[in-house]
Subunit: 406 residues, 2 copies
């Protein structure tokens, strides 16, 4: 080798490097925030620590062993024994699109429970995949009754039913009671979004007859954003393998992704696993397993009670009026008449480094949102949130209708 | 609130949590490896350290400021002043699909330079997006001449031309000389894959007339896998906004993604930014800017010379025979007759914790691959690789044809 001329690419012009654009300099600075909005919530320190571990190759044996650990942890978290379990390299939005991309073929019917932003986005995505989209709607702040869903499924006989267990834009929990059986009696598969609910409230993937499901890394599982827990049932796998048309997206194609995750013999290089975040998710799932799901559910429910006791005491009311609709992990609080919601958010951020979030989609401008999620689900954080609301409201001259004074 | 009954979801059956599936337990253990394959390469410790920083909300002002820093760092790395620059939440495979998803409409012609696995995968993806795919082929280990490409572009007048600057499966660098001008004279846009090349060899996005381009985080930029540098030209943006059909994928839709990254007024919640990895990429880009591109290119080229001086001395030869085709960041080395390549890989992994990779796609079983990338591009690592090859070959009884003995 030797001389520089051997590296030359014929005629490729090399210019002086332009310094017109200045890149970042110095070491990154990130302020500390207590993230009590709908997510990301603060990651568990053990998870963040795992993200500094040295990288491994995406097909190295120790990395494949780690993938098996992740798969087992996801099966526990989802309460499923399905081998068709994996971690998606992408956020919840990618999880939603992946499920639709694999389960729907052009022209097939899908019923989408749309009572907030996730139903809206799901309908948008399903239309892009040329499905025949039937939107089932109910007022924001409410969930669908079994009867409403039953009527729609029996009438339309869809290939797929989408329900969001935790609609974070309105703080609504959707009961899944009877939905799996209903779908299977009518030739449909049941797709459930558990992004904001998994680990915070009961979920039984197999026993409830859920066919395909994605969740979130940065909610009650307390990991960083960027990966998405996933499983599907044997029924859903059968649907996948009997498709008449190919899956439109390469990256979301479960036929290939499953070959990376060891669903079949051998391992296929589908993409490069997101090494650092998979380390983090392995830790997140170990924490879930070590803690136990029942303990997690109980803790979230108790803190939800504590939060609302404090908030009601301040004269605040839930946006989701029916207690049976309320999602413990994302709580929506009506902004009282005359209060500047954004002013309050900015006030508590400035004084306490505390994130209280505003609304989203149908709840924008109408509510605050408080997350109770995983590592952040502590009595200390709930006490802080209540104190911050009290201070923030008083700073705007609001003293509420104290129950004790009535 | 209060009583537990208010939380009940009608008829939703709660079971005892099954312990049939055991999740992971205890703290994660990851062995240390010196990753001298085609990537992931070892991440810079400063980047791994940034991945432990506390999370921020994906639309918080300090996070938006960080996104602006990342954008500026990417503009420097790509040598572009285009505002249409962002970091994709996904790996290089997602970057490839995103570019095709936005630039191609069903039936449009695309010429794909296919001389290795990336051309192959690009052709697969373009077919999924219903493009009219014309594959331009040349033998593995070679790059396309300008004349070959010119003939194809003038004959087919495609909407898009795909070239891979660094074909990592064969260790081949594609000269981009004249390609931008050629495309623009023929109504085509130029799409370039720089996953394995950016930061290691010269690249001038604007001056070379590149229209749309993605790169890799975990090669010469030394960050973790999971994010993908991206930019496109004004011409490419015009193509996007004049599409007759919608973009098929929600997650890859640049119309929406650009609204998150501040290409236009306001910020849109398209997905949740991959906070920890974006911190890491901010550090990676700061390191690139602080080091300077010219210094990086020079270092990679010098180490490439050192590597090959040592390898030739051992009697080893490059797979890419023409020096003008050789990619300094991924080096392909012919496996000599009678040598067990996998045995050598396992031997050096066992003894030195050192990754030497095998081939991929058209080079599988025929070559070893050695990466010279970013943080790993040091004289110490090159010396180790040469010593490990010498030891590994000798352990199989191979003593080569020493130049000094001829």
């Amino acid at each position: 080798m030797g001389g520089a001329d051997t590296h030359a690419r014929p005629e490729e012009k090399v210019f002086p490097v332009s310094d017109k654009i200045k890149g970042p300099q110095g070491v990154i600075k990130v302020p500390y925030r207590i993230l009590m909005g709908p997510g990301p919530s603060n990651a568990h320190p053990r998870i963040l620590a795992a993200q500094t571990l040295p990288l491994l190759g995406h097909l190295h044996p120790p990395f494949l062993a780690l993938m098996d650990e992740i798969k087992a942890g996801l099966q526990y978290a989802f309460q499923t024994e399905s081998k068709y379990t994996l971690l998606i390299s992408g956020t919840g939005h990618a999880g939603m699109e992946l499920c639709l991309a694999n389960m729907l073929e052009p022209g097939q019917k899908v019923i989408i429970g749309n009572n907030g932003i996730w139903g809206e986005r799901c309908a948008d995505m399903a239309k892009r995949y040329e499905a025949n989209v039937i939107e089932l709607k109910c007022p924001p702040g409410q969930s669908f009754t079994f009867e409403e869903v039953k009527k729609a499924v029996e009438e339309h006989k869809p290939a797929l039913l989408f329900l969001c267990q935790g609609e974070s834009s309105t703080g609504v929990q959707q009961s899944l009671a009877g939905m799996g059986e209903l779908c299977h009696q009518n030739g449909a598969l049941l797709l459930v979004d558990t992004v904001c609910s998994l680990g915070a409230v009961p979920f039984f993937g197999d026993a409830w007859g859920v066919d395909i499901c994605y969740s979130g890394s940065q909610k009650a599982l307390s990991a960083s954003p960027g990966t998405t827990p996933f499983f599907m049932s044997q029924k859903a796998h059968d649907r996948l393998t009997s498709r008449k048309t190919g899956v439109h997206s390469y990256n979301y194609d479960l036929n290939l992704l499953g070959k990376y995750w060891g669903w079949y013999e051998g391992r296929f290089y589908h993409h490069t696993g997101i090494v650092s975040l998979w380390y983090g998710m392995r830790e997140a799932l170990a924490i879930v397993y070590e803690t136990g799901l029942e303990t997690m559910w109980k803790r979230h429910r108790e803190l939800y009670d504590q939060l609302w006791e404090g908030l009601r005491d301040l004269g605040l009311e839930p946006f989701a009026e029916n207690p049976a609709d309320q999602l413990p992990s994302v709580n929506t609080i009506k902004v009282p008449e005359g209060i500047d919601w954004l002013g309050l958010n900015n006030y508590v951020m400035g004084k306490y480094n505390l994130e209280i979030a505003g609304g989203l989609g149908p709840s924008a401008g109408k509510v605050w949102r408080i997350g109770i999620m995983g590592f952040n689900a502590t009595a200390a954080n709930i006490a802080l949130v209540i104190a911050a609301f009290k201070d923030g409201l008083q700073s705007q001259g609001f003293h509420g209708a104290k129950k004790t004074a009535s």
